[in-house]
């Protein structure tokens, strides 16, 4: 099992969610986060004085999937979240050692 974490532009959330539902992902966790990558924030100007806002608002999506689903999930998020301009975000994948569905006590892949 893998945990896929995608940091994306907030306005792309709906498109990514719909695309993931289409390929059979059944749930996700979404968090509003702030951060920067190579984009290095944006600038605001007040009477000629520039302020650099380093931390840009982003959305983090977390999806727990089976190993077999990972390539499809990565391809789907990349396609749906892409604008082609700077600041589109990143995807991280990590190993998931256990999963439990609280209501039934199921464990492992059947809990996903």
């Amino acid at each position: 099992m893998k945990l896929v974490e995608a940091i994306i532009k907030p306005f792309k959330l709906d498109e990514v969610k719909d695309a993931l539902l289409e390929i059979g992902v059944q749930g996700m966790t979404v968090t509003e986060v702030k951060g920067f990558g190579r984009q290095k924030g944006h600038k605001e100007t007040y009477r000629g004085t520039e302020y650099t806002i380093e931390f840009v608002p982003k959305v983090k999506i977390e999806v727990a999937v089976t190993d077999a689903q990972v390539p499809k999930v990565l391809e789907t998020i990349t396609r749906a979240a892409k604008t082609g301009s700077i600041g589109d975000g990143k995807i991280f994948v990590r190993d998931l050692s256990a999963a439990v569905r609280i209501r039934t006590g199921e464990a492992g892949e059947s809990a996903l």
């Binding site: 532009k9 306005f11 709906d14």
Partner: protein, 443 residues
């Protein structure tokens, strides 16, 4: 006469303060032009004050009314629309707008270029438009009407218009839609010759804003997330304060349209006030019974619809007729906004529902309720024995709606071929404040 009074007052001050002001008094005496024969100081004072009142309707009145209704990421962009419209239209009006609307008539259609750059528009009164005030004070009063109208329209495409597109739209709209319509109704054009009357802008201001707003909503399309995202007003206190300033300024808008400080002006203010109050109450009652609660946004919207409805006839109908008009507009505007949902267009801040419906009720209301006992210079309506006026008013309504809708639609289509009308999806999600202006309202 005027110069003597000014001289005496200033001279009185000078005797207290000193010789510096004495010299000012001497200057004032010389500077008063000789062509001020018919000028009445009371009328002039009222027209100048009325112009200031109408300015307050745009900024901060409409800026707050609209700014409070959008989401917090768009409040600066929306308030900027009101501010920008005032600035752009003011310059356009002085360059050629006033001339197109009010200069000597060309075939009943347009005003021509005689007064371009305000040449010939000075202290001497215009014998027809306003014979007792300086011509330039009539010009500035009309300028504010020309600015107020497109400032209403921007509510239709709030939260998604590209700023550069807005500037182009306002210049074109005030030239191709507002100026002809104002000429037809107020500049000696063909609608006024037909006998149609519009005291302060039922057709020229409110119906034209409503019809243009509909075209804007159709061409621009819905906002992203319409009906799925939470799009409630971000600051209802702003909306209420803005409504208060609109109400306050409307006394100048309608009262000043009497073009003097007289009984018609007083009647127009009484009519405006009662229509606003009756319409707010009517909206409240129908909303209370329909949805279970009387809301703040409801009474504010009702008051604005009521004032829009009394604008066409403020100087032609009595105060109780005005209250009736207001109550009718409050109910119809509420129904229009409920029905809007079924049509699926996104007139974001309900310009059609408030101003389109208000202008419609008001113009037909004149045909029914106008009375020469209120204003001998106006017509009688159907209920006062003149069956012909209602039909003429209906013609004016139809003309204003079709002309404003088609004109706006064409302007937007042409602009659309030149520049992007809407902000990009990402900019729209970020909000107009940051994407268009690099600023935010609340940090």
């Amino acid at each position: 006469m005027v110069s003597t009074v000014a001289w005496k007052q200033t001279a009185g001050l000078a005797s207290m303060v000193g010789l510096v002001l004495w010299s000012t008094a001497a200057w004032a005496q010389e500077a008063v032009p000789t062509a001020t024969g018919g000028i009445d100081s009371g009328d002039t004072a009222w027209m100048l004050a009325a112009s200031a009142l109408v300015t307050a309707m745009i900024i901060p009145g409409l800026a707050l009314f609209y700014g409070g209704m959008v989401r917090s990421k768009n409040v600066l962009g929306t308030m900027m629309h009101s501010f920008l419209v005032l600035c752009v239209v003011s310059v356009v009006w002085a360059l050629w707008g006033y001339s197109l609307a009010f200069a000597p008539d060309k075939g009943g259609v347009i005003g021509g270029l005689d007064w371009i750059l305000l040449s010939g528009v000075g202290a001497a009164p215009h014998p027809v438009y306003a014979p007792t005030v300086p011509h330039v004070s009539f010009m500035i009063f009309q300028l504010l009407f020309a600015a107020f109208t497109p400032a209403l329209i921007v509510g239709a495409f709030a939260e998604r218009i590209r700023f550069s597109a807005l500037v182009g739209f306002i210049v074109a709209w005030s030239m191709f839609v507002y100026a002809p319509l104002a000429h037809w109704m107020w500049g000696g054009g063909w609608l006024s010759r037909l006998g149609a009357v519009d005291f302060a802008g039922g057709t020229v201001v409110h119906l034209s804003a409503g019809a243009s707003a509909l075209a804007c909503a159709l061409v621009l399309g819905r906002r992203r997330g319409w009906r799925t995202d939470y799009m409630a007003p971000h600051n209802l206190p702003f909306v209420l304060v803005g409504t208060g300033l609109l109400w306050f300024g409307w006394f100048g808008f309608n009262g000043g349209s009497a073009r003097g400080a007289n009984g018609v002006a007083a009647g127009a203010i009484a009519a405006t006030h009662l229509a606003a109050a009756a319409s707010a109450l009517a909206w409240m009652v129908i909303e209370w019974s329909h949805r279970g609660k009387p809301t703040v946004l409801g009474v504010a919207s009702g008051a604005v619809a009521g004032m829009a409805s009394v604008t066409a006839g403020a100087g032609f109908v009595g105060p109780m007729s005005a209250a009736l008009l207001g109550a009718t507009a409050g109910v119809l505007a509420y129904l229009a906004i409920v029905w809007k949902g079924k049509f699926g267009y996104d007139d974001t801040l309900d310009v059609v529902g408030l101003h389109g419906v208000g202008g419609f009720v008001g113009m037909l209301g004149v045909g029914l309720l106008a009375s020469t006992s209120v204003n001998p210079a106006g017509p009688n309506g159907l209920l006062f024995g003149n069956s012909g006026q209602l039909g003429i008013q209906a013609v004016a309504v139809g003309v204003a709606v079709v002309f404003a809708f088609v004109g706006t639609y064409l302007i937007l289509k042409v602009l659309d071929g030149m520049i992007e009308l809407r902000v990009s999806p990402e900019e729209e999600a970020t909000g107009l404040d940051l994407s268009q202006h690099n600023e935010r309202a609340y940090s």
